[in-house]
Structures are given as structure tokens and as C-alpha cells.
């Protein structure tokens, strides 16, 4: 992620003006190209799209830095502006093509997430992490389910559903609420280089929540099946499949981690290409094997950090590649945001988001009290858990596939809430890291 810890020259007003002029030039160039040849040239338009988002996102983050807006929020804004619902410099086809880079970004995020988890720190915070995970998952799941159930009367697609089906949809919504965003968390942490109790606790909690979500989703889908499909019986098939998936992912992740350790130790060159091969190629292999890429890479990163002395070298390589890839990832996510849905379902989505934030705060208070966390965690430990992104959207797609008839509308609501949390979460998290003095860059001073 940009904004790494290296020193750089201070930006003057003249620099900002130049950056704004270059940004305007880029928009102008792409505008001219898309108007001169209106028909998109397939994958080639995505080449221009990636380049544009990379530059526009970077420039937007530089220009908005004085406002202390997280870089990733600036990337998202740049993507929204250029996307199909903004200036339409990138059309739907291009944005869909761009999402092919997501597998690389998610692999890097998971590897970095795993490599940031140091066993020494985890041992110290194990008790706090366990209580936080339990309370955050349980509280958020139960209360958000209840809140959604209360709202079903106002939702056009759920209003006329029988009680059992409304309960089923609400339970699935509870799963969505439990998801966090490792990408947003790592994005903010990479920019701020934050190190402290809030940063560490949030990172560990968000990473563990990945696994929790998989389990909660599988269990919930198993439980709600009889409620959605008349005549369906309770089947444990999904749980058995989940067991295979988790075990396989952890095993393969461990193996991959060990291979990476050997590579880093004895060759240690061309890491960019190795990460590209892993992000694109190995992810496909994992999908083919029905393993969970995020968990596999998370474990691999964890192994490299904790079973070898190559962790810091590995993190530096991930930082370097990530700086480029994350800009495209978040700006692409911004271009992907469906503004019309947000406009249509905005009020209900906002209410659901606020409810989720309130439950996260409540769960944090309870967990911190039981675990005996320091005051700073008791006060701010929930803030980093607000962001939502790719995992929530993935769960939304699973829900869409499993709900007959109105699945698409539920997914639309998921997209609307993710849009709000994606914008709100990173801003809150960075503000708190700056406020608690955990940020180590000078832009918050």
C-alpha cells in the first residue's frame, strides 16, 4: 500500500497544483479515447483501465492527503468518479475485466495478513482475541439477525414472506454482518504504519474472522435450508465439505509457506513474479481443488513469518507489489460500486449499518471487560471492525444463489451496505489510529 514508511519530500502547494493538472490530463485523455472510439476493445480497454485507475487513484490519494482521508478511500472515490455510474470512462465490461486482478490482490492481502501475525504478539493477546472473536461474532450475528427481522416489514421483497422464510433471510443477513474486511484493515495499516494495541488487536481479529465467517456461513446455510425449501431436511453435507475445505486449506497453506521459506532462503530473487504466479496461477489451482484461497495464503504468510527468519523480507516484497496492486483493487471496487442501488436502498442500508456498528461497539465493551483489555482497546477496539468489502460481497453472492426468487434483491442490499461500510470504515479506523498515536507516518501530525 502506498504511503509506506520511506521518507519522501514534502509536497508544496505547487506540487498539489501539478498533481491536480496531471489528474485532469488523465481524465481528459481517457475521455478523448473513449469518445473517439466508443466501442470498447475488449481486454485492451481493461489495460487502459488498470493504468488509469493506478494513476488516478495514486494522485487522488496524494491530493486528498491534507484532509487525512485514508488512501484507499481516495482510490475508491477515484474509481467511483471514473466508473460506469460516474463519468463513464470505464464501462461495465471493463470493470468486470478489471475484477480479474482481484485474485492477485486478495492473495497478497492474505499473505501479508498472515505474515503480520506474529506468534509472540498473538500469545500475549490470545485471551483478548478469543473473547473478542466470540463476542463480536455472536453478538453481531444474533442482534443483526434480530434487527433485520424487524426491518423485513419495510423491505418490498421480504414483506410478504412467511415467518420461517423471513427468519431464514434474517439469519443469512446475520452472516453478512459478521464479515470484516482484511483488505481495508491492511490498507489503512500499511498507509499509517501503525503499531500498537488497537492496530494489532484489529488485525488479528479481522484475520481470524475470515475463518469464523466460513464456519458460520456453512452452519447457517445448513440450518436455513429446511426453512427456505419446503420438504428439505437437515443435511450435514455442507459441514463435511467445510471440514475438508478448512483442513485442506490449512495443510496446503502450511506446505506453501514452507516452500516459500526455502525459496526466500536459497533463491530470494524475482519475488514480484513469484507473487504474480501465486496470485493468479496458484489461486486457480486452489479454486479447482475447492480450497479457500484466503485461508491458504493466510496460513502460508503466517508460516513464513513465524517459522523462519524471512518474514520481514517477505513483508517488504509484499509491500512493494501491494503498493501497485491495491490501488487498482480499491479503485476497481469503487468503479464497481452500484450507486443506483445505494440511492434506492440507501436509508435501510444505512440503518442496518448503524445497527451493526452499535452491536460491534456493544460486543467490544463486553469482550474487553471479560478479557481485561487496556482502556484504549475497551474504547476503540471496535472501530477497525466496521469496514466490509469483498468477503461480504462473496457471502452476498452465496445468498443470492441459495434464495429462490428474491436472492438478487438481498444481494443488492448487501452491496448497498458494503458500499457504506467500505467508505465509512477506513476513515473511522485511520482517525482512531491517528488519535491514539499509533500511526507512524507524519501526515496525521
Amino acid at each position: 500500500m502506498s504511503g509506506g514508511g520511506h521518507a519522501r519530500e514534502r509536497q508544496t502547494l505547487f506540487d498539489r497544483v501539478q498533481q491536480a493538472a496531471v489528474l485532469a490530463l488523465l481524465f481528459g485523455l481517457l475521455y478523448a479515447a473513449t469518445r473517439a472510439v466508443p466501442q470498447a476493445a475488449g481486454a485492451l480497454s481493461s489495460v487502459a483501465g488498470i493504468g488509469f485507475l493506478l494513476l488516478a487513484g495514486t494522485l487522488a490519494s496524494e491530493l486528498l492527503e491534507p484532509l487525512r482521508i485514508p488512501h484507499l478511500t481516495a482510490y475508491i472515490l477515484a474509481g467511483m468518479l471514473a466508473g460506469p455510474y460516474g463519468l463513464h470512462l470505464l464501462d461495465h465490461e471493463t470493470v468486470t475485466e478489471l475484477s480479474k486482478t482481484n485474485s492477485l490482490a486478495l492473495a497478497l492481502i492474505a499473505l501479508a495478513g498472515g505474515a503480520e501475525l506474529r506468534l509472540v504478539d498473538l500469545r500475549k493477546t490470545a485471551r483478548s482475541l478469543a473473547w473478542t472473536t466470540l463476542f463480536q461474532s455472536l453478538f453481531t450475528f444474533i442482534f443483526t439477525t434480530a434487527l433485520f427481522f424487524a426491518f423485513t416489514g419495510f423491505l418490498p421483497f421480504a414483506r410478504d414472506l412467511p415467518f420461517a422464510e423471513r427468519a431464514a433471510v434474517s439469519l443469512l443477513w446475520g452472516v453478512v454482518a459478521v464479515t470484516r474486511s482484511p483488505s481495508a484493515t491492511l490498507g489503512v495499516l500499511a498507509q499509517t504504519r501503525a503499531n500498537g494495541p488497537v492496530a494489532q488487536a484489529t488485525l488479528a481479529s479481522v484475520m481470524v474472522s475470515d475463518v469464523v465467517v466460513l464456519v458460520v456461513l456453512a452452519v447457517t446455510l445448513t440450518l436455513v435450508r429446511p426453512l427456505i425449501e419446503p420438504g428439505a431436511t437437515l443435511s450435514m453435507t455442507k459441514l463435511v465439505g467445510l471440514g475438508h475445505e478448512l483442513l485442506g486449506s490449512v495443510s496446503l497453506g502450511t506446505t506453501l509457506g514452507l516452500v516459500l521459506v526455502v525459496y526466500l532462503r536459497f533463491i530470494g530473487r524475482q519475488l514480484v513474479l513469484v507473487l504474480l504466479l501465486l496470485g493468479f496461477g496458484f489461486t486457480e489451482v486452489l479454486k479447482y481443488l475447492h480450497f479457500e484461497p484466503l485461508l491458504t495464503f493466510l496460513v502460508a504468510g503466517f508460516i513464513v513469518q513465524n517459522l523462519s527468519s524471512q518474514g520481514e523480507k517477505f513483508l517488504r516484497a509484499l509491500d512493494g507489489v501491494g503498493a501497485v496492486v491495491y490501488v487498482v483493487f480499491f479503485a476497481g471496487a469503487g468503479a464497481h460500486l452500484e450507486i443506483p442501488i445505494l440511492r434506492q436502498l440507501g436509508v435501510i442500508a444505512l440503518a442496518l449499518c448503524l445497527g451493526r456498528v452499535a452491536f460491534a461497539w456493544l460486543a467490544n465493551r463486553a469482550a474487553a471487560r471479560v478479557a481485561g483489555d487496556p482502556p484504549v482497546l475497551r474504547r476503540w477496539g471496535w472501530v477497525g471492525l466496521v469496514s466490509q468489502a469483498g468477503i461480504a460481497l462473496g457471502v452476498g453472492s452465496v445468498i443470492e444463489r441459495n434464495l429462490p426468487g428474491y436472492g438478487a434483491q438481498v444481494r443488492a442490499l448487501v452491496i448497498a451496505t458494503v458500499a457504506i461500510n467500505e467508505m465509512l470504515g477506513p476513515v473511522l479506523f485511520k482517525t482512531v489510529l491517528d488519535r491514539t498515536g499509533e500511526s507512524r507516518t507524519d501526515d496525521h501530525a
Partner: protein, 418 residues
């Protein structure tokens, strides 16, 4: 083979190329032009094993554009500079004149010969001009790789080897600009009607737009790089600018190579971090080149190449005559051998050939790609031998270096050992 697997394989090739380091090719691993990778491409292509079929080739076209564009960027950033030594204006002018002479000779010969070759007998004047200019563009390069390859293997140092190196470096601009004009004469994309009507002298305007966009984006990149000291951010700026330029040019059907060369040139001239940027991107050169060469091999159409063989003979003959003329005019101490010593061509020729094959589909594009490969192959056979002879004649190669063994250490290794 699916496009995805091919892309992964190409990344793997880039990995291997990078792992063995940019300097290894000079010290014995691989030929200076990298032409052996074209042969691998031919074997994997639809004509032999069929692993890389036509559908896959279409799928990976964006990668070809990016690879070729990246090479052009590297050439642009380093244009006029050899190992941090900036060429004098006189040398650059001399190189450009040499390039223009070769270009004019080849283009003229092809223009005259085309109607007599059955494959091109029915071409209209515009297509004939595209063919002639394209042939000139792919047959003008003298690769400095070959000159450095011979110089390093034989420890040659002196005015002639430096002159040839300088000329080879400075000549590059001529074929790149000519390829740009050729593509703009027949742009592959249909412009929106309202835009097309507003452009009076289309080819000229399009060429200006391609080069201007490259220069403008290069200027923008130089501004952004000016205060940027973070390596990863510099990569972001360069990669972003290149992808935007490549994508925009390909969308508009304009010459990617010319635009990206302009972009690199602007970065090289305007950025105060030119040396750092050059050091960053130079090691990527071979990593981008090898996949492009492999795909060039896969795209070769043997039938078209055979039908155009007579034209190739004319073009390469004209090239040899033009280079001989240049050699006689400037070759110090080895006037007759200096021309043949410049016959080696490689990465730029094949990159231009490949981009012309993409931009001008059909017999013309296929022939130009084949010509670039045949030229590189012949250059590989004749160039290094003639260069060795020329340097020996000029007294820049000592007798002790005449028969180096493959396991003999390279000059810089010897220095390090000392």
C-alpha cells in the same frame, strides 16, 4: 492450451529470464538477438505443435501490446545514453542519418519490388506505402546487444567499437518513427464519424496524436517522479502510465511502439531521476522481450513468408547495401567491414514487426513480422562474425582474445577477481 495457462507460462519465462540476470546473455547464455525464443514460438505455434493456436493468440494480444510497449519505454528512457554515458549530439545526428539512409534504401527497394511479387501485386498505393515503410522500419535496426556481446566476449575497446555502439543506439529512433507513420497510414480502429470528419490530414494528425500523447504522458510521469523517492510508488507511476498509454493507443488503433518510445524519451529527458528510473526498468527488458519473441514466433505464417521470400531478399539486400555505404563513410580502420558488422538486429526489429502484425492484419503485417525474424536470423549469422573481423582489423581485439572458451570469465568478472 488456454490463454490463462499461456500467460502463466509467459510469466514463468520472464521469471527464468530474470533469474539468469540481464548480463548473462552477453556472457554466453542465449544469442544476442534472443532469436532462439522465436524458434520456440514457431514450434509451439499453430503450424507445428498447435499449443499456441490462433484463438489463444487473440486472447493474449493485450500482453503482446504491453510487452512491446514496455520495451519501447525502456528504449526511450535509455535513448542517447549508454551505461550512463550520454551520447554527443553529433553522434546522435550521425546515427539518425545512418538510420534514415537504411530506412530510405529498404523502403525504396520494397516500394519498387512489391508489384513484382505475386503476393503484393494487387496492392493499392496506400497499402504499398505501408508495406514499404513497415519493411524499412523492421530492417533498419542494428542491435547494440550484438556489439556489446562481441565487445565483452573479446574484451574489445576502442574508437570503432564505441562508434558502432553509438550508431546502433542512436539509429533506434528512425525505425520507431517510421513504424508509427506506417500504422497511422492504415489505422486498425474505426474512429467515431464525428471525430473522423473533424480530422483533415488524418495520418499526420494521428501520428502527431500518438507521439504527442506519449510525450505528454512521459512529461506527466516525470513530474510525478520528481519528488517521489519511494520505489514502489515510482513503479506505480511507471506501470500506470505505460498501461494507460498502451491501452489508449491500442483502443485508437495508433502505434504503441512510437507512443511509448516518446513516453520513455520524455521521462529520460525531463526526469531528474533518469538514472534511477533506468536502473529500475533495465533489468525488466529481457523479461518483457522473451515472451514477445515467443509470441512473435507463434504468429509467424510460413506460407506468407515463403510467398514473400523474394521481397525479403530485396529488402535485406538493400539493408546490406545501405549499411555498407554507412560503413564506408564512417568506419574507422575497417571501412569495408563496418557495414556488415552492423547487420545484427533483434529485439527492436521483432518488436516492431510484432506490433505491425497486430496493427495491420493480413499479408502485409504477417510479411513484416516474418521479415523482422529473417533479418534477425541472418544478422545473427553474419553480424557477429563481421564485427569480430572489423574490430580485429581496427586493432581493437588482441590475439589473446581470439578464441575465448565458454567458461572463460567475462571481463567484469576478471576485474572483480583481480
Amino acid at each position: 492450451m488456454s490463454a490463462f495457462v499461456l500467460v502463466m507460462a509467459l510469466v514463468g519465462i520472464s521469471y527464468v529470464a530474470g533469474l539468469f540476470g540481464p548480463g548473462r546473455s552477453i556472457r554466453g547464455l542465449g544469442l544476442p538477438s534472443g532469436i532462439e525464443w522465436v524458434a520456440v514460438g514457431v514450434v509451439l505455434g499453430p503450424g507445428v505443435l498447435g499449443v499456441i493456436d490462433h484463438a489463444v493468440q487473440t486472447d493474449v494480444e493485450p500482453i503482446v501490446f504491453v510487452a512491446v510497449g514496455w520495451l519501447a519505454l525502456v528504449l526511450g528512457v535509455d535513448y542517447g545514453v549508454i551505461r550512463r554515458r550520454r551520447l554527443r549530439a553529433g553522434r546522435i545526428a550521425l546515427g539518425l542519418v545512418a538510420g534514415a539512409v537504411t530506412l530510405a534504401a529498404v523502403s525504396g527497394a520494397v516500394w519498387l519490388a512489391a508489384p513484382h511479387v505475386a503476393l503484393f501485386a494487387t496492392l493499392g498505393p496506400l497499402d504499398r506505402l505501408v508495406l514499404a515503410l513497415g519493411a524499412g522500419a523492421v530492417a533498419t535496426e542494428s542491435t547494440s546487444n550484438a556489439i556489446r556481446w562481441v565487445a565483452e566476449r573479446h574484451g574489445a575497446r576502442g574508437p570503432l567499437s564505441e562508434l558502432l555502439d553509438d550508431l546502433a543506439e542512436a539509429k533506434d529512433a528512425a525505425p520507431i518513427l517510421a513504424a508509427g507513420v506506417a500504422v497511422c497510414l492504415r489505422p486498425s480502429t474505426t474512429l467515431d464519424d464525428s471525430v473522423a470528419r473533424a480530422l483533415p490530414a488524418q495520418p499526420l494528425v494521428l501520428f502527431g496524436a500518438a507521439l504527442g500523447t506519449g510525450l505528454l504522458l512521459g512529461g506527466a510521469a516525470a513530474i510525478l517522479l520528481r519528488k517521489e523517492t519511494r520505489g514502489e510508488q515510482r513503479w506505480g507511476i511507471l506501470v500506470g502510465t505505460v498501461l494507460l498509454a498502451v491501452g489508449a493507443m491500442a483502443r485508437l488503433g495508433l502505434p504503441v511502439v512510437t507512443s511509448l518510445f516518446g513516453l520513455g524519451l520524455a521521462v529520460g529527458l525531463l526526469s531528474r531521476h533518469r538514472d534511477e528510473v533506468s536502473a529500475m526498468i533495465d533489468p525488466t527488458r529481457r523479461g518483457a522481450l522473451l515472451p514477445a519473441l515467443l509470441l512473435a514466433g507463434a504468429r509467424l505464417e510460413p506460407t506468407t513468408a515463403l510467398s514473400a521470400a523474394a521481397l525479403f531478399a530485396v529488402a535485406l539486400g538493400a539493408r546490406a547495401v545501405a549499411l555498407a555505404t554507412v560503413g564506408v563513410a564512417v568506419g574507422r580502420g575497417a571501412r569495408l567491414l563496418a557495414g556488415p558488422a552492423m547487420l545484427s538486429s533483434g529485439e527492436l526489429s521483432v518488436a516492431i514487426g510484432l506490433s505491425l502484425a497486430l496493427a495491420v492484419p493480413g499479408a502485409i503485417g504477417e510479411s513484416l513480422l516474418a521479415l523482422s525474424v529473417v533479418g534477425a536470423l541472418l544478422g545473427e549469422l553474419v553480424g557477429p562474425v563481421a564485427l569480430r573481423a572489423a574490430l580485429r582489423r581496427a586493432g581493437e581485439i588482441g590475439r589473446a582474445h581470439d578464441a575465448p572458451s565458454d567458461d572463460a570469465p567475462a571481463p567484469d568478472e576478471k576485474e572483480a577477481a583481480a
